[in-house]
Symmetry: C2
Subunit: 174 residues, 2 copies
């Protein structure tokens, strides 16, 4: 099994665990979409994803794509970007090096640069063939309030899951 297949298995397992924990169903569509996303590196938008799945003869509706991408974002397997156009761009979260984005505000094209965590403003100005107007670090995560809410939710889920297990055990015992 090559690196790509290994990664696919990894993320499939992670998605599986996520679905189980949240009591979401494990439909073929969901796994097919995840798999398909992890066959290509780089950015994609919903329309591209839709068409490329049709191309490999996997019929999905756009509604399902949007529904599934929501789950994938929530469990952190996919990352969402909005560079300035009207369409959102997505990208798989694992198997891509850390990279920053150079966005041309005139033509909208996006280039990627290698991890530049430590770039200073002075260094940025030196990026070849690109005139930097401004830049912004977008740090995505969970605020304390939502963090707390999520924790409570997970606790509730865990409790329900174990209760269900208990019930089953009771059944078997009786």
């Amino acid at each position: 099994m090559d690196g790509s297949q290994k990664l696919k298995k990894q993320v499939r397992d992670e998605f599986m665990a996520y679905l189980t924990l949240h009591k979401h169903r494990k439909t073929p569509e969901r796994f097919a979409i995840l798999d398909h996303i992890y066959t290509t590196k780089g950015h994609f938008d919903m329309d591209t994803l839709y068409k490329s799945m049709i191309d490999v003869n996997f019929r999905v509706s756009r509604a399902t794509l949007y529904n599934t991408i929501e789950l994938l974002l929530d469990c952190g397997l996919v990352v969402k970007h909005q560079f300035g156009g009207n369409v959102s761009k997505y990208e798989r979260a694992y198997g891509n090096e850390n990279h920053d984005h150079l966005i041309c505000t005139t033509c909208g094209q996006v280039w990627e640069t290698k991890n530049s965590d430590l770039l200073t403003q002075a260094q940025l100005k030196k990026i070849k063939k690109f005139t930097v107007n401004y830049y912004s670090m977008y740090i995505y995560g969970t605020c304390s309030k939502c963090s707390h809410a999520k924790k409570m939710e997970l606790r509730r889920l865990a409790r329900n899951n174990s209760e269900k297990t208990d019930n089953k055990q009771v059944k078997y015992e009786s």
Copy 2:
């Protein structure tokens, strides 16, 4: 004249120069919008801007707002963000300290942090009350192709402008 008024004059002058160079008309709406944007710090969206201008009894249409913001973006007086919701956020470009954005992917709220140019991944993890999932540096600017096109365009404009001056002089001479 306080600092705020001084800044407003500065950006008004810059906008004026931009409009002159590009042969765009100097309408009251355009200057009112720029002025209004520079009365508040922080992010705003189009709807908020629209309503707040109505509030101060300045009637503008949404179409004009979108048209004008385009110009302001082009001349770099306003900066555009898309944090992940459905609406674009804007921000004046001058008079704000350099800052990064903390975006809660659950509730969508956005906080600002002081300039963290040199934040390392390790440091990011330590941001209090915020669990960092991932971050991305968005570097906006102009690519070499567009840069060249813009330069040509400016040259053309400059030529036309001077030709026009020449014509006038000829007229006066004749």
